[in-house]
Assembly symmetry: C2
Protein backbone atom coordinates (compact mmCIF):
# COMPACT_ATOMS: atom_id res chain seq x y z
CA UNK A 1 0.00 0.00 0.00
CA UNK A 2 1.31 3.46 -0.93
CA UNK A 3 0.45 6.22 1.53
CA UNK A 4 -0.10 9.59 -0.06
CA UNK A 5 -0.76 13.11 1.19
CA UNK A 6 -2.34 15.26 -1.50
CA UNK A 7 -1.96 19.05 -1.54
CA UNK A 8 -4.13 21.29 -3.72
CA UNK A 9 -7.71 21.11 -4.97
CA UNK A 10 -7.62 21.96 -8.68
CA UNK A 11 -8.42 19.72 -11.64
CA UNK A 12 -5.31 17.58 -11.37
CA UNK A 13 -5.59 17.13 -7.60
CA UNK A 14 -9.25 16.14 -7.80
CA UNK A 15 -8.75 13.66 -10.64
CA UNK A 16 -5.75 12.16 -8.84
CA UNK A 17 -7.73 11.85 -5.61
CA UNK A 18 -10.49 9.95 -7.40
CA UNK A 19 -8.03 7.66 -9.14
CA UNK A 20 -6.17 6.93 -5.89
CA UNK A 21 -9.44 6.16 -4.11
CA UNK A 22 -10.44 3.73 -6.86
CA UNK A 23 -7.09 1.98 -6.79
CA UNK A 24 -6.72 -0.78 -4.21
CA UNK A 25 -3.04 0.05 -3.80
CA UNK A 26 -3.10 3.68 -2.68
CA UNK A 27 -4.37 5.30 0.50
CA UNK A 28 -4.82 9.04 0.60
CA UNK A 29 -3.96 9.68 4.24
CA UNK A 30 -4.74 13.37 4.11
CA UNK A 31 -5.89 16.05 1.71
CA UNK A 32 -4.63 19.57 2.26
CA UNK A 33 -6.01 22.75 0.75
CA UNK A 34 -5.62 26.34 1.94
CA UNK A 35 -9.36 26.77 1.45
CA UNK A 36 -11.18 23.92 3.21
CA UNK A 37 -14.51 24.68 1.51
CA UNK A 38 -13.25 23.35 -1.81
CA UNK A 39 -12.64 19.85 -0.45
CA UNK A 40 -15.34 19.81 2.21
CA UNK A 41 -17.51 17.35 0.27
CA UNK A 42 -14.79 14.72 0.72
CA UNK A 43 -14.48 15.05 4.52
CA UNK A 44 -16.33 11.80 5.22
CA UNK A 45 -13.97 9.86 2.95
CA UNK A 46 -10.61 11.35 3.83
CA UNK A 47 -9.00 13.51 6.52
CA UNK A 48 -8.95 17.06 5.25
CA UNK A 49 -6.88 19.94 6.57
CA UNK A 50 -5.90 23.52 5.84
CA UNK A 51 -3.02 23.50 8.31
CA UNK A 52 0.39 22.54 6.97
CA UNK A 53 1.73 22.02 10.48
CA UNK A 54 -0.70 19.11 10.96
CA UNK A 55 0.41 17.01 8.00
CA UNK A 56 0.84 13.34 8.83
CA UNK A 57 3.55 10.96 7.74
CA UNK A 58 3.26 9.43 4.26
CA UNK A 59 5.35 7.83 1.51
CA UNK A 60 4.72 10.64 -0.97
CA UNK A 61 3.54 14.24 -0.72
CA UNK A 62 1.99 15.38 -3.99
CA UNK A 63 1.93 19.12 -4.66
CA UNK A 64 -0.88 19.41 -7.22
CA UNK A 65 -0.89 23.19 -6.86
CA UNK A 66 -0.37 26.10 -9.24
CA UNK A 67 3.10 26.41 -10.78
CA UNK A 68 3.88 29.49 -8.76
CA UNK A 69 2.97 27.88 -5.43
CA UNK A 70 5.30 24.85 -5.67
CA UNK A 71 8.34 26.60 -4.26
CA UNK A 72 6.56 28.39 -1.41
CA UNK A 73 4.46 25.48 -0.15
CA UNK A 74 7.31 23.00 -0.34
CA UNK A 75 9.40 25.32 1.81
CA UNK A 76 6.64 25.52 4.40
CA UNK A 77 6.24 21.77 4.83
CA UNK A 78 7.09 21.00 8.49
CA UNK A 79 9.40 18.06 7.82
CA UNK A 80 12.37 17.14 5.70
CA UNK A 81 13.96 14.26 3.86
CA UNK A 82 10.61 12.87 2.74
CA UNK A 83 9.58 12.43 -0.92
CA UNK A 84 7.82 15.56 -2.22
CA UNK A 85 6.75 15.74 -5.89
CA UNK A 86 4.92 18.29 -8.01
CA UNK A 87 2.61 17.58 -10.95
CA UNK A 88 3.57 20.41 -13.31
CA UNK A 89 4.84 20.17 -16.87
CA UNK A 90 6.91 23.31 -16.75
CA UNK A 91 8.18 23.75 -13.18
CA UNK A 92 11.72 22.59 -12.44
CA UNK A 93 12.19 19.77 -9.97
CA UNK A 94 14.61 22.13 -8.21
CA UNK A 95 11.76 24.51 -7.39
CA UNK A 96 10.88 22.10 -4.62
CA UNK A 97 12.66 23.07 -1.41
CA UNK A 98 15.97 21.28 -1.10
CA UNK A 99 15.28 19.97 2.38
CA UNK A 100 13.12 17.27 0.71
CA UNK A 101 13.72 14.28 -1.50
CA UNK A 102 12.41 15.79 -4.71
CA UNK A 103 10.54 14.49 -7.75
CA UNK A 104 7.91 15.05 -10.41
CA UNK A 105 4.68 13.18 -11.14
CA UNK A 106 3.34 14.89 -14.30
CA UNK A 107 0.27 13.44 -16.03
CA UNK A 108 0.45 14.46 -19.70
CA UNK A 109 -3.14 15.01 -20.73
CA UNK A 110 -5.80 17.70 -21.03
CA UNK A 111 -8.05 17.76 -17.99
CA UNK A 112 -11.54 19.12 -18.44
CA UNK A 113 -13.73 20.05 -15.56
CA UNK A 114 -16.51 17.54 -14.99
CA UNK A 115 -15.18 14.98 -17.48
CA UNK A 116 -14.19 11.67 -15.91
CA UNK A 117 -10.57 10.82 -16.51
CA UNK A 118 -9.30 7.41 -17.55
CA UNK A 119 -5.73 7.31 -16.27
CA UNK A 120 -5.00 4.22 -18.35
CA UNK A 121 -5.00 6.64 -21.29
CA UNK A 122 -2.65 9.10 -19.63
CA UNK A 123 1.15 8.82 -19.74
CA UNK A 124 2.76 9.73 -16.44
CA UNK A 125 6.11 11.49 -16.66
CA UNK A 126 8.13 10.70 -13.56
CA UNK A 127 11.39 12.19 -12.39
CA UNK A 128 13.35 12.08 -9.16
CA UNK A 129 16.61 13.70 -8.16
CA UNK A 130 17.61 10.55 -6.31
CA UNK A 131 16.35 8.36 -9.08
CA UNK A 132 17.56 5.00 -7.82
CA UNK A 133 15.94 5.55 -4.49
CA UNK A 134 12.76 7.39 -5.38
CA UNK A 135 11.77 6.49 -8.95
CA UNK A 136 10.49 2.98 -8.14
CA UNK A 137 7.72 4.23 -5.87
CA UNK A 138 6.66 6.93 -8.38
CA UNK A 139 6.45 4.27 -11.08
CA UNK A 140 4.48 2.05 -8.74
CA UNK A 141 2.10 4.92 -7.98
CA UNK A 142 1.52 5.54 -11.72
CA UNK A 143 0.83 1.85 -12.32
CA UNK A 144 -1.50 1.71 -9.34
CA UNK A 145 -3.87 4.09 -11.12
CA UNK A 146 -3.46 2.26 -14.46
CA UNK A 147 -1.09 4.76 -16.09
CA UNK A 148 2.10 4.02 -17.92
CA UNK A 149 5.08 5.69 -16.22
CA UNK A 150 7.76 7.31 -18.39
CA UNK A 151 11.05 8.41 -16.94
CA UNK A 152 11.58 11.91 -18.29
CA UNK A 153 14.21 14.44 -17.28
CA UNK A 154 13.46 18.15 -16.75
CA UNK A 155 14.52 19.24 -20.27
CA UNK A 156 12.43 16.50 -21.83
CA UNK A 157 9.46 17.36 -19.65
CA UNK A 158 9.70 21.03 -20.64
CA UNK A 159 9.78 20.08 -24.33
CA UNK A 160 6.82 17.70 -23.90
CA UNK A 161 4.89 20.48 -22.17
CA UNK A 162 5.67 22.89 -25.01
CA UNK A 163 4.87 20.26 -27.65
CA UNK A 164 1.59 19.59 -25.84
CA UNK A 165 0.62 23.22 -26.40
CA UNK A 166 1.11 22.62 -30.13
CA UNK A 167 -0.75 19.31 -30.43
CA UNK A 168 -3.55 20.32 -28.08
CA UNK A 169 -4.12 24.11 -27.92
CA UNK A 170 -2.85 24.94 -31.40
CA UNK A 171 -4.43 21.94 -33.09
CA UNK A 172 -7.69 22.81 -31.39
CA UNK A 173 -7.43 26.37 -32.70
CA UNK A 174 -6.86 24.96 -36.20
CA UNK A 175 -10.15 23.05 -35.70
CA UNK A 176 -11.73 26.32 -34.60
CA UNK A 177 -10.58 28.08 -37.78
CA UNK A 178 -11.97 25.20 -39.86
CA UNK A 179 -15.23 25.59 -37.96
CA UNK A 180 -15.37 29.29 -38.86
CA UNK A 181 -14.57 28.54 -42.52
CA UNK A 182 -17.32 25.95 -42.86
CA UNK A 183 -19.82 28.12 -41.00
CA UNK A 184 -19.20 30.97 -43.43
CA UNK A 185 -20.99 28.95 -46.13
CA UNK A 186 -23.37 27.05 -43.86
CA UNK A 187 -21.47 23.80 -44.41
CA UNK A 188 -21.69 21.27 -41.59
CA UNK A 189 -18.51 21.06 -39.46
CA UNK A 190 -19.61 17.52 -38.50
CA UNK A 191 -18.55 16.30 -41.95
CA UNK A 192 -14.92 17.05 -41.05
CA UNK A 193 -14.84 14.93 -37.91
CA UNK A 194 -13.88 11.62 -39.54
CA UNK A 195 -10.98 13.42 -41.24
CA UNK A 196 -9.91 15.00 -37.95
CA UNK A 197 -9.88 11.61 -36.26
CA UNK A 198 -8.10 9.88 -39.15
CA UNK A 199 -5.41 12.59 -39.13
CA UNK A 200 -4.71 11.80 -35.47
CA UNK A 201 -5.03 8.04 -35.94
CA UNK A 202 -2.64 7.96 -38.90
CA UNK A 203 0.25 8.61 -36.49
CA UNK A 204 -0.12 5.00 -35.34
CA UNK A 205 1.26 3.99 -38.75
CA UNK A 206 3.32 6.94 -39.93
CA UNK A 207 5.44 9.81 -38.61
CA UNK A 208 3.89 13.25 -39.25
CA UNK A 209 6.63 13.77 -41.83
CA UNK A 210 5.52 10.76 -43.87
CA UNK A 211 1.80 11.35 -43.28
CA UNK A 212 1.85 14.78 -44.92
CA UNK A 213 -0.27 15.33 -48.07
CA UNK A 214 -2.05 18.29 -49.66
CA UNK A 215 -1.40 21.37 -51.79
CA UNK A 216 1.56 22.74 -49.77
CA UNK A 217 3.43 19.42 -49.88
CA UNK A 218 2.63 19.01 -53.61
CA UNK A 219 3.40 22.69 -54.21
CA UNK A 220 0.05 22.93 -56.02
CA UNK A 221 0.21 26.68 -56.66
CA UNK A 222 -3.21 26.90 -58.31
CA UNK A 223 -5.05 25.45 -55.32
CA UNK A 224 -2.98 27.47 -52.84
CA UNK A 225 -3.85 30.66 -54.73
CA UNK A 226 -7.54 29.71 -54.83
CA UNK A 227 -7.53 28.99 -51.08
CA UNK A 228 -5.81 32.26 -50.20
CA UNK A 229 -8.33 34.15 -52.26
CA UNK A 230 -11.21 32.43 -50.48
CA UNK A 231 -9.93 33.37 -47.01
CA UNK A 232 -11.41 36.64 -45.81
CA UNK A 233 -10.22 36.65 -42.18
CA UNK A 234 -6.70 38.12 -42.10
CA UNK A 235 -5.47 35.88 -39.26
CA UNK A 236 -6.81 32.74 -40.97
CA UNK A 237 -4.95 33.82 -44.09
CA UNK A 238 -1.76 34.40 -42.08
CA UNK A 239 -2.12 30.91 -40.56
CA UNK A 240 -2.59 29.46 -44.06
CA UNK A 241 0.53 31.19 -45.36
CA UNK A 242 2.72 30.40 -42.38
CA UNK A 243 1.79 26.71 -42.14
CA UNK A 244 2.15 26.34 -45.91
CA UNK A 245 5.64 27.85 -45.56
CA UNK A 246 6.38 25.54 -42.62
CA UNK A 247 5.28 22.42 -44.57
CA UNK A 248 7.34 23.47 -47.57
CA UNK A 249 10.40 24.09 -45.42
CA UNK A 250 10.01 20.67 -43.76
CA UNK A 251 9.71 18.94 -47.13
CA UNK A 252 12.41 20.97 -48.87
CA UNK A 253 10.09 22.63 -51.39
CA UNK B 1 -28.08 -2.43 -59.41
CA UNK B 2 -26.23 0.82 -60.23
CA UNK B 3 -24.13 0.69 -63.38
CA UNK B 4 -21.00 2.80 -63.25
CA UNK B 5 -18.23 3.74 -65.67
CA UNK B 6 -15.10 4.84 -63.85
CA UNK B 7 -12.58 7.22 -65.42
CA UNK B 8 -9.11 7.75 -63.97
CA UNK B 9 -6.66 5.57 -62.08
CA UNK B 10 -5.38 7.60 -59.15
CA UNK B 11 -5.91 7.00 -55.46
CA UNK B 12 -9.57 7.99 -55.40
CA UNK B 13 -10.45 5.99 -58.54
CA UNK B 14 -8.73 2.87 -57.25
CA UNK B 15 -10.32 3.04 -53.81
CA UNK B 16 -13.74 3.67 -55.35
CA UNK B 17 -13.29 0.74 -57.73
CA UNK B 18 -12.51 -1.60 -54.83
CA UNK B 19 -15.47 -0.33 -52.82
CA UNK B 20 -17.85 -0.71 -55.79
CA UNK B 21 -16.61 -4.24 -56.41
CA UNK B 22 -17.19 -5.17 -52.78
CA UNK B 23 -20.69 -3.72 -52.78
CA UNK B 24 -23.42 -6.02 -54.03
CA UNK B 25 -25.32 -3.06 -55.45
CA UNK B 26 -22.86 -1.56 -57.90
CA UNK B 27 -21.44 -2.91 -61.16
CA UNK B 28 -18.43 -1.21 -62.70
CA UNK B 29 -19.22 -1.75 -66.39
CA UNK B 30 -15.99 -0.23 -67.61
CA UNK B 31 -12.81 1.38 -66.33
CA UNK B 32 -11.16 4.00 -68.49
CA UNK B 33 -7.67 5.35 -68.21
CA UNK B 34 -5.51 7.12 -70.80
CA UNK B 35 -2.65 4.86 -69.79
CA UNK B 36 -3.88 1.24 -69.85
CA UNK B 37 -0.83 -0.09 -68.00
CA UNK B 38 -1.98 1.48 -64.74
CA UNK B 39 -5.20 -0.56 -64.65
CA UNK B 40 -3.96 -3.64 -66.47
CA UNK B 41 -3.97 -5.77 -63.32
CA UNK B 42 -7.75 -5.43 -63.20
CA UNK B 43 -8.46 -6.57 -66.76
CA UNK B 44 -9.74 -10.00 -65.70
CA UNK B 45 -12.25 -8.41 -63.34
CA UNK B 46 -13.55 -5.50 -65.40
CA UNK B 47 -13.55 -4.23 -68.97
CA UNK B 48 -10.74 -1.72 -69.28
CA UNK B 49 -10.26 0.81 -72.07
CA UNK B 50 -8.16 3.79 -73.05
CA UNK B 51 -10.53 4.86 -75.80
CA UNK B 52 -13.21 7.38 -74.88
CA UNK B 53 -15.17 6.64 -78.07
CA UNK B 54 -15.77 3.08 -76.85
CA UNK B 55 -17.45 3.95 -73.55
CA UNK B 56 -20.57 1.90 -72.91
CA UNK B 57 -23.89 3.03 -71.46
CA UNK B 58 -24.17 3.40 -67.69
CA UNK B 59 -26.15 5.16 -64.98
CA UNK B 60 -23.22 7.27 -63.77
CA UNK B 61 -19.87 8.28 -65.24
CA UNK B 62 -17.39 9.09 -62.50
CA UNK B 63 -14.49 11.38 -63.42
CA UNK B 64 -11.95 10.52 -60.72
CA UNK B 65 -9.26 12.46 -62.57
CA UNK B 66 -7.01 15.40 -61.74
CA UNK B 67 -8.77 18.72 -61.15
CA UNK B 68 -7.43 20.17 -64.38
CA UNK B 69 -8.66 17.25 -66.53
CA UNK B 70 -12.33 17.39 -65.53
CA UNK B 71 -13.33 19.98 -68.08
CA UNK B 72 -11.40 18.50 -71.00
CA UNK B 73 -12.37 14.86 -70.52
CA UNK B 74 -16.02 15.65 -69.90
CA UNK B 75 -16.11 17.57 -73.20
CA UNK B 76 -14.64 14.61 -75.03
CA UNK B 77 -17.21 12.09 -73.78
CA UNK B 78 -19.03 10.78 -76.91
CA UNK B 79 -22.59 11.12 -75.56
CA UNK B 80 -24.80 13.66 -73.88
CA UNK B 81 -27.57 14.00 -71.34
CA UNK B 82 -26.19 11.27 -69.14
CA UNK B 83 -25.13 11.77 -65.50
CA UNK B 84 -21.43 12.74 -65.27
CA UNK B 85 -19.89 13.54 -61.88
CA UNK B 86 -16.43 14.47 -60.66
CA UNK B 87 -14.86 13.60 -57.30
CA UNK B 88 -13.00 16.81 -56.56
CA UNK B 89 -13.30 19.05 -53.52
CA UNK B 90 -12.39 22.24 -55.31
CA UNK B 91 -13.61 21.96 -58.92
CA UNK B 92 -16.92 23.61 -59.79
CA UNK B 93 -19.75 21.39 -60.94
CA UNK B 94 -19.95 23.74 -63.94
CA UNK B 95 -16.50 22.62 -65.08
CA UNK B 96 -18.21 19.51 -66.40
CA UNK B 97 -19.28 20.03 -70.02
CA UNK B 98 -22.83 21.34 -70.19
CA UNK B 99 -23.98 18.69 -72.62
CA UNK B 100 -24.21 16.35 -69.61
CA UNK B 101 -26.38 16.04 -66.55
CA UNK B 102 -23.80 17.23 -64.03
CA UNK B 103 -22.95 16.39 -60.45
CA UNK B 104 -20.30 15.86 -57.79
CA UNK B 105 -19.39 12.78 -55.74
CA UNK B 106 -16.67 14.03 -53.36
CA UNK B 107 -15.36 11.70 -50.65
CA UNK B 108 -14.03 13.88 -47.83
CA UNK B 109 -11.08 11.98 -46.44
CA UNK B 110 -7.33 11.62 -46.72
CA UNK B 111 -6.39 8.77 -49.05
CA UNK B 112 -3.03 7.16 -48.52
CA UNK B 113 -1.48 4.89 -51.08
CA UNK B 114 -1.59 1.28 -50.00
CA UNK B 115 -3.84 1.86 -46.99
CA UNK B 116 -7.20 0.13 -47.22
CA UNK B 117 -10.08 2.56 -47.04
CA UNK B 118 -13.20 2.04 -44.99
CA UNK B 119 -15.86 4.07 -46.76
CA UNK B 120 -18.20 3.75 -43.79
CA UNK B 121 -15.86 6.28 -42.15
CA UNK B 122 -15.94 8.68 -45.11
CA UNK B 123 -18.62 11.34 -45.61
CA UNK B 124 -19.64 11.64 -49.25
CA UNK B 125 -20.51 15.15 -50.40
CA UNK B 126 -23.01 14.92 -53.23
CA UNK B 127 -24.30 17.65 -55.52
CA UNK B 128 -26.29 17.69 -58.76
CA UNK B 129 -27.44 20.56 -60.94
CA UNK B 130 -30.75 18.81 -61.50
CA UNK B 131 -30.97 17.83 -57.88
CA UNK B 132 -34.47 16.36 -57.85
CA UNK B 133 -33.65 14.10 -60.74
CA UNK B 134 -30.03 13.15 -60.09
CA UNK B 135 -29.36 13.40 -56.36
CA UNK B 136 -31.24 10.21 -55.39
CA UNK B 137 -28.94 7.95 -57.38
CA UNK B 138 -25.80 9.67 -56.04
CA UNK B 139 -27.08 9.18 -52.52
CA UNK B 140 -27.86 5.55 -53.32
CA UNK B 141 -24.35 5.08 -54.70
CA UNK B 142 -22.81 6.53 -51.53
CA UNK B 143 -24.93 4.26 -49.34
CA UNK B 144 -24.06 1.24 -51.49
CA UNK B 145 -20.42 1.56 -50.39
CA UNK B 146 -21.39 2.21 -46.78
CA UNK B 147 -20.81 5.98 -46.80
CA UNK B 148 -23.08 8.65 -45.45
CA UNK B 149 -24.14 11.05 -48.22
CA UNK B 150 -24.31 14.77 -47.46
CA UNK B 151 -25.95 17.20 -49.84
CA UNK B 152 -23.47 20.04 -50.18
CA UNK B 153 -23.55 22.94 -52.62
CA UNK B 154 -20.45 24.19 -54.45
CA UNK B 155 -19.67 26.99 -51.98
CA UNK B 156 -20.01 24.63 -49.07
CA UNK B 157 -17.85 22.02 -50.79
CA UNK B 158 -15.13 24.62 -51.45
CA UNK B 159 -15.17 25.66 -47.81
CA UNK B 160 -15.05 22.02 -46.64
CA UNK B 161 -12.10 21.41 -48.94
CA UNK B 162 -10.28 24.46 -47.56
CA UNK B 163 -11.18 23.52 -43.96
CA UNK B 164 -9.85 20.01 -44.68
CA UNK B 165 -6.45 21.52 -45.47
CA UNK B 166 -6.49 23.07 -42.01
CA UNK B 167 -7.63 20.03 -40.03
CA UNK B 168 -5.51 17.57 -42.01
CA UNK B 169 -2.39 19.15 -43.58
CA UNK B 170 -1.95 21.97 -41.06
CA UNK B 171 -2.78 19.87 -38.02
CA UNK B 172 -0.35 17.26 -39.26
CA UNK B 173 2.34 19.95 -39.59
CA UNK B 174 1.62 21.02 -36.00
CA UNK B 175 2.27 17.38 -35.04
CA UNK B 176 5.49 17.57 -37.03
CA UNK B 177 6.63 20.66 -35.15
CA UNK B 178 5.83 18.93 -31.85
CA UNK B 179 7.89 15.98 -33.07
CA UNK B 180 10.86 18.28 -33.74
CA UNK B 181 10.49 19.95 -30.34
CA UNK B 182 10.47 16.65 -28.44
CA UNK B 183 13.33 15.25 -30.50
CA UNK B 184 15.47 18.27 -29.61
CA UNK B 185 15.67 16.96 -26.04
CA UNK B 186 15.41 13.26 -26.82
CA UNK B 187 11.89 13.08 -25.37
CA UNK B 188 9.65 10.39 -26.80
CA UNK B 189 7.00 11.73 -29.24
CA UNK B 190 4.95 8.58 -28.44
CA UNK B 191 4.03 10.09 -25.07
CA UNK B 192 2.03 12.79 -26.88
CA UNK B 193 -0.18 10.40 -28.85
CA UNK B 194 -2.90 9.95 -26.21
CA UNK B 195 -3.16 13.75 -25.99
CA UNK B 196 -3.34 14.05 -29.79
CA UNK B 197 -6.18 11.53 -29.90
CA UNK B 198 -8.02 13.07 -26.96
CA UNK B 199 -7.82 16.51 -28.61
CA UNK B 200 -9.57 15.09 -31.68
CA UNK B 201 -12.03 12.99 -29.65
CA UNK B 202 -13.06 15.92 -27.45
CA UNK B 203 -14.94 17.38 -30.42
CA UNK B 204 -17.55 14.68 -29.89
CA UNK B 205 -18.55 16.51 -26.71
CA UNK B 206 -17.52 20.12 -27.26
CA UNK B 207 -17.05 22.70 -30.01
CA UNK B 208 -13.41 23.71 -30.57
CA UNK B 209 -14.33 27.06 -29.01
CA UNK B 210 -15.39 25.42 -25.74
CA UNK B 211 -12.64 22.80 -25.81
CA UNK B 212 -9.85 25.38 -25.73
CA UNK B 213 -7.46 25.41 -22.75
CA UNK B 214 -3.83 26.38 -22.20
CA UNK B 215 -1.59 29.42 -21.69
CA UNK B 216 -2.91 31.51 -24.62
CA UNK B 217 -6.54 31.11 -23.50
CA UNK B 218 -5.59 31.80 -19.86
CA UNK B 219 -3.29 34.63 -20.98
CA UNK B 220 -0.58 33.06 -18.82
CA UNK B 221 2.18 35.49 -19.81
CA UNK B 222 4.89 33.80 -17.75
CA UNK B 223 4.45 30.42 -19.48
CA UNK B 224 4.11 32.04 -22.93
CA UNK B 225 7.38 33.91 -22.36
CA UNK B 226 9.11 30.73 -21.18
CA UNK B 227 7.87 28.82 -24.24
CA UNK B 228 8.95 31.50 -26.70
CA UNK B 229 12.39 31.54 -25.12
CA UNK B 230 12.67 27.75 -25.47
CA UNK B 231 11.84 27.79 -29.20
CA UNK B 232 14.98 27.99 -31.32
CA UNK B 233 13.50 27.40 -34.79
CA UNK B 234 12.25 30.75 -36.15
CA UNK B 235 9.26 29.25 -37.99
CA UNK B 236 8.18 27.25 -34.93
CA UNK B 237 8.35 30.48 -32.95
CA UNK B 238 6.29 32.32 -35.60
CA UNK B 239 3.69 29.52 -35.46
CA UNK B 240 3.61 29.81 -31.67
CA UNK B 241 3.10 33.57 -31.80
CA UNK B 242 0.49 33.51 -34.55
CA UNK B 243 -1.64 30.72 -33.08
CA UNK B 244 -1.42 32.32 -29.64
CA UNK B 245 -2.67 35.54 -31.25
CA UNK B 246 -5.41 33.63 -33.06
CA UNK B 247 -6.59 31.91 -29.84
CA UNK B 248 -6.59 35.22 -27.99
CA UNK B 249 -8.57 36.91 -30.75
CA UNK B 250 -11.13 34.07 -30.75
CA UNK B 251 -11.53 34.29 -26.99
CA UNK B 252 -11.47 38.09 -26.77
CA UNK B 253 -8.25 38.33 -24.76
Amino acid sequence: MIHVVLLGAGNVATHLYKAFEKSGEVTVKQWYNRNLKTIETYKNQVTITNDLSKLVEADIYILAVSDDAVSEISAKLPFENRLVVHTSGSVSVYDIDMKHKRGVFYPLQTFSKGASIDFSQIPLCVEAIKSKEDLPILKKLAKAIGSKPHRVNSDQRASLHLAAVYVNNFTNQIYRIAHEITESTGADFEILKPLIKETARKLDDLTPYLAQTGPAKRNDKKTIKKHKKALTDPIHKEVYQLLTKSIQKTHGI
